[in-house]
Symmetry: C2
Subunit: 516 residues, 2 copies
């Protein structure tokens, strides 16, 4: 055992005593909690995986896995060959009740710094907040919250954003509805708590803590109509506090721009590289708020590195700012356990938002936010004036669903289906469009495919695919980058398509574009 | 028959041939349509009721009733002894498809007149948009959209705003839920049309046309989270068009002020008299938008006179303005058929809003707006950025419910229950607080009671009632009027209380306040 506090490792012992199939997860949770609570201080060196495994009486693999997971999430730092330390990034509540106004947390209404024009490396976004302006469009464009619908001639629509709606668990949902209507007390049918039904906030807090590694206090959880509404709610609050703009990832979802624009905020594209948001342009931008997708960046598909997670939080603290974490598909990772949410590292700086839109159905319009204490009252009052709170019956049904374990089953079911479809897409690309590179982690509901230039150029590629009845979206629609290397970069959504349709669609594209 | 166009009366013949039990309604609808379509032009003199009854072969009583109803709604004008004419107020679509940009209808974004300070007879409203500021309040105050909740010692809570939640038709709703989940096509579970589910918009348009006399084009119906969200949506649209303030009825619901304040609009109290909004202060106020409750004014309980309805619409046309009609309890009238909605008189000037909050449950957060053509695109885009649209399952269930006739049954059931409670309240007031006057029409879920000054003053009256466990709201909380005559004016909500509880509550108050 090392000299860095025998007591600290003892708190891992209960986890080590967990049943074998839950032991790995329990170990990770205990380690994460120890870092977050400060019982393992930043800079503390961890024992070698071999030593800790021996102390705890668990396999060394479990410890290695826990170290890797928490390093990816930013709780730990590792140097090849030099060992593992507790990182600086995590700054949760220091044990006990949630802090509501500690050091470095501004009083409401204090900040008024409105960023001016574009800083180097950023680009102001002329968002068209009006959409098509005809008042009839159901979808506001591509992105994690947008949908893919078929125009008349379309045979295969690869636009990203929609899950497989046929996976919606109709009979289980129906059973939960019956149960809810049989037991819900009359007063629950009255004007709701704008934060949401207490039983759902309890159930979601437990679920998100377990699945996403967040710090989830039910008192700070606000049920909302999905990540879109979470964005609008936060946008209005920031605007009222004097923010003039918010940063968005480039590439990223144009929908974020439209949503924030509706609250009076400008959006600034902030460039991304293979690890996450680049720190210098972010610092130079003048914004004090950003929206990010660190678990599975949309659309690039990367998972942010631990360094960039830490750097983002350091920036937020330095500018007295806030981060909106859009965890739009954080539940779907196919090669390993999903990387825990950024929010767990600093729940006072990060607003975490998620929904059932990818796991159940977008039509439920049901999501959640975890809100830092100092923003909570303003977000809740916004939610109240916006709609008085979410409808109660769906909330009660989801609570029932989560509590029964049916939600976990649904996630496993989707995970299996989407993994199979992703594998099928990759195989089809390899077979029919050889040379195509797929980037990003094995996760989510879409991939980025870089098709060799000989099939291009992009415009002709897309036109020919469309003529063959296949709708594809180019990466250029999601940001400002124009590599100019001639390759065709596509954002391909596959989750809503049966494997045979995925394969047929790619085959049709290949036939249409020929060999270039 | 008169000389005023034989042809015009012929269009009433099909109505006259309707089955006896529907004949009266059919006659009224046919007459209303004839006025609205312009087939009966403003100024046209109608035949005497005796003559028309003879021509149509219906009883004279039916014709008299139709004349009275349409006169109350503002379609017709009557002078005692001098006959009945078609009024000037109605200006609907002139036959054919809805007008989307005709004469006198401004282009979007044209108006920028921000009203300055308070005009004579109005008072600027310092709304506290933050509520209690603790982020935990489920209710933002009294009013048609507020709720009554019990504090620990409360035995009887007469605060208005909540229906009887035990009347929610659980098994019928549950059956409709099952039916919906069995038949809804998969794509309906995707991202919704922000205007709402087409089948619900169709069903509501038919329902509202029939029950409330509105002009309801499904293409202009927007499903929303209730009248509260309708207010916020319209408020944001008006603010973006340059409005600085909106007028509200005095007395009225303080909640309107809080909602509009959240959109950046000031609210101005505009004085009411026994007939509706007084025209002079309205004209002098400088606002170009007002929110009104003409069918059953909240809280005074009057129904606006036909003259004032016409005057309001004339004002709206003159200032190129808009009217939000909050039809919060328009379905509940106990002495006669409800007066048709104002919107029917001019669907290009009136935004009509209603919900199921009083008829089914506030917790459903389900309502609707009928939106003038020139505001439609902006309202829908606001709805989209606010939440992408209402949840689809409840929408489908309500559509099923309306189409099956279950919604009409529910309204009849509530009507019976609330009428009985109102009668019980009036009897209890007469018995235990003799001399108390109840004003307003026999409608809705609350009454205004004027208790003789010998039981007062108001503050002591309320304190003694509260000490006896009875919560009552004084009229003063709903506006600026302070009559100073010593009488105690109360807004008493009774719909959510069993008749025995209503009686026991009034008895307890009487015992607590003594004889003054």
């Amino acid at each position: 055992m090392t000299s860095h506090g025998q007591a600290a490792w003892e708190l891992l012992l209960p986890a080590a005593a967990a049943p074998a199939r839950r032991r790995g997860r329990a170990l990770q949770e205990a380690l994460r909690d120890a870092v977050r609570s400060g019982r393992l201080a930043p800079g503390t060196r961890l024992p070698s995986s071999r030593a800790l495994a021996a102390d705890l009486g668990v396999s060394r693999g479990l410890v290695t896995e826990a170290y890797e997971q928490l390093t990816a999430e930013g709780y730990l730092r590792s140097d090849r060959g030099a060992g593992t330390w507790v990182g600086e990034a995590a700054r949760g509540r220091p044990g006990g009740p949630p802090a509501r106004g500690g050091v470095g947390i501004p009083a409401p209404g204090r900040g008024t710094g409105t960023p001016g024009g574009s800083a180097p490396g950023t680009r102001a976004w002329a968002a068209d907040a009006r959409g098509t302006g005809d008042g009839t469009h159901a979808r506001g464009g591509a992105g994690p919250h947008a949908a893919g619908a078929g125009a008349p001639r379309v045979r295969v629509d690869f636009r990203p954003g929609t899950p497989d709606l046929s996976l919606f668990p109709r009979s289980a949902w129906s059973a939960a509805q019956r149960a809810v209507l049989a037991r819900l007390p009359h007063p629950s049918l009255g004007y709701p708590d704008p934060r949401g039904l207490p039983e759902l906030r309890e159930a979601l807090a437990a679920l998100l803590t377990r699945r996403r590694g967040v710090v989830a206090d039910p008192e700070r959880l606000v049920v909302c109509s999905g990540v879109a509404q979470a964005s609008t709610l936060l946008g209005f609050v920031l605007r009222a506090r004097g923010h003039g703009a918010i940063g968005v990832e480039d590439p990223g979802s144009p929908e974020h721009g439209r949503l924030f624009s509706s609250t009076g905020l400008d959006t600034l594209w902030l460039p991304l590289d293979g690890e996450g948001l680049r720190p210098e342009p972010l610092a130079a931008s003048g914004v004090r708020a950003v929206v990010v997708t660190p678990s599975h960046q949309f659309p690039s598909g990367i998972s942010w590195s631990a360094e960039r997670r830490a750097a983002l939080l350091a920036w937020a603290r330095a500018v007295d700012g806030h981060v909106l974490e859009d965890d739009y598909d954080g539940d779907f990772r196919y090669d390993r356990a999903p990387v825990g949410a950024l929010q767990g590292l600093d729940p006072e700086r990060v607003v975490y938002a998620g929904s059932v839109s990818k796991s159940l159905a977008p039509g439920l319009r049901l999501g959640w936010m975890l809100v830092p204490g100092e923003l909570l009252a303003e977000v809740v009052e916004r939610k109240r004036t916006m709609d008085l709170g979410n409808p109660v019956l769906d909330q009660a049904v989801l609570a029932e669903f989560v509590t029964r374990g049916a939600y976990d089953r649904q996630l496993r079911r989707c995970q299996r289906a989407y993994r199979e479809r992703r594998d099928g897409l990759l195989a089809a690309l390899a077979e029919h469009l050889p040379g195509t590179e797929v980037s990003g982690i094995a996760a989510g509901l879409h991939v980025i495919a870089r098709v060799p230039g000989r099939y291009g150029p992009t415009e002709r590629f897309l036109a020919r695919a469309a003529a063959a009845g296949v709708v594809l979206r180019p990466l250029e629609e999601y940001g400002t980058a124009r590599p100019g290397d001639g390759d065709v970069r596509l954002v391909i959504g596959y989750a809503h398509l049966a494997p045979s349709v995925v394969a047929a669609g790619i085959r049709a594209v290949a036939a249409a574009v020929g060999r270039g």
